[in-house]
């Protein structure tokens, strides 16, 4: 039998695009649900953030202490040398402001600005890998995931330091990029130089330091690397949670505004429908 396929199905939207009561009610419901989600995400981040901030306090002097030696010895890095290593710290999860996109932008631009150099990435957090692995597959040396879910511990930093040392990549220029926590609403991308054992042992001003042998410098350098990484990881953790908290807070606020507006429209439409019905009834009765 031939069956007729509907070529024209009259849709039930109203002529002037006015939403029906049902549509508004559905939308209101979904916005309310979204608000509930962002609200609870904010709560979770707030709890994680307060812990991260508490732990950040002792790790700050630790980080500055670890960097003090490099600042004072003033080990220069010759940017013209061919082998570069970038260690970046991001997060596994998104919805935390511009933290990860800052890093991804930086990595992309670094590669673009140094076309004749051998650049390698070591990334902490899944986001950088997800964003750049397709376009820059050859640059990734190591990636670490599961970063940021639990607060970073010193053994995590030691693991990363060990894999940098054991990677066998003899870099001439090294940088760690991480987001430095300033306040709940502010953080900024900051570089920290990363020195190889070779560049430290060849530094001129190392001569003023007394009673050094190769073994001491090596152990010292390895430990210092882990310490610097640890401090950077703590800063990143704190940034991630504070950024997510702020993002979720404003999302909740926006959802609240939307709910207010939708409720208003909903009530108005309901009134209009009632008025319309009344007019119909009255004019019907008057016609009799």
């Amino acid at each position: 039998m031939l069956s007729r396929t509907a070529l024209f199905v009259p849709t039930c939207t109203q002529v002037r695009g006015m939403a029906t009561l049902k549509e508004i009610r559905n939308r209101l419901k979904s916005v309310k649900n979204v608000q509930k989600i962002t609200q609870s995400m904010k709560m979770v981040s707030a709890a994680k953030f307060s812990r991260a901030e508490r732990e950040l306090k002792p790790s700050r002097p630790y980080g500055t202490g670890a960097n003090a030696f490099y600042d004072k010895v003033d080990i220069g890095q010759d940017l013209e040398k061919p082998k570069h290593l970038l260690v970046t710290m991001g997060s596994d999860r998104g919805l935390c402001g511009a933290m990860n996109s800052n890093i991804n932008k930086l990595l992309k631009n670094y590669v673009k600005d140094n076309p004749d150099k051998e650049v390698k990435f070591i990334t902490l957090g899944d986001k950088a890998r997800q964003a750049l692995y397709k376009t820059h597959p050859g640059y990734f040396m190591l990636t670490f995931s599961e970063f940021g879910r639990q607060p970073a511990s010193f053994s995590d930093a030691a693991d990363v330091a060990e894999s940098i040392i054991n990677s066998g990549y003899e870099f001439d220029v090294g940088q760690i990029y991480f987001n430095e926590y300033k306040s709940v609403v502010s953080y900024s991308l900051r570089p920290v130089p990363l020195h190889s054992l070779q560049s430290v042992s060849e530094a001129d001003s190392l001569a003023v330091y007394d009673s050094l042998d190769a073994e001491v410098i090596r152990s010292y350098q390895e430990y210092q690397l882990a310490s610097v990484l640890y401090a950077c990881m703590k800063e990143t953790n704190c940034c991630e949670h504070s950024a997510r908290m702020t993002a979720m807070d404003s999302a909740t606020k926006n959802a609240g505004e939307m709910i207010d507006k939708l409720t208003l429209t909903f009530n108005r439409t309901r009134q209009a429908v009632i008025t319309g019905e009344l007019i119909e009834i009255i004019s019907g009765a008057a016609a009799l």
Binding site: G65, A68, F69, K72, D210, L212, Y220, Y230
Partner: protein, 167 residues
Amino acid sequence: MASLVSRVPRLFQAVGRTLAAQATRGYADAAAPVGMSFTFGSPGAAFYNAATNVRQVDVPTFSGDIGILPSHVPTLAVLKPGRLSVYEDEGNVNHFVVSSGSVTVNEDSSVQILAEEACRLEDIDPGLARSGLEKAQQQLSAASTDAERTEAQVAIEFHEQVVKAIE
């Protein structure tokens, strides 16, 4: 390590007595007028942050135990498990137990000590320290691979030093 630290400082009074005895020994009378800027911390706690009221620090390192006074010759060293003592200007002496880490003495008389683990001596439970040592010794005898053996040896060395520091 965490198991070693008890929040109840049982030996506190005993240690306090020895402290008083040690404080009378004038270590750094000939110290130069320049104070040192002293930073000492572990990942979980910062004990001193660029403090200027310190006149001497005794540090156990792999190149031997060293005492750092202000204007010490710049040096780098690797921390060894043991007791670290900080002599403050007012005559207070603070003792810590450290596991490993790094010591930096810079030209401008700033000192940075970063320990992987550190806690105050009075927070250590001697009973736990001793049982930890026994456990580490058992670990060594039970170890089958080289890595396990090294781990156990490190644990034994650490616990021995902790026990020694308490005594």
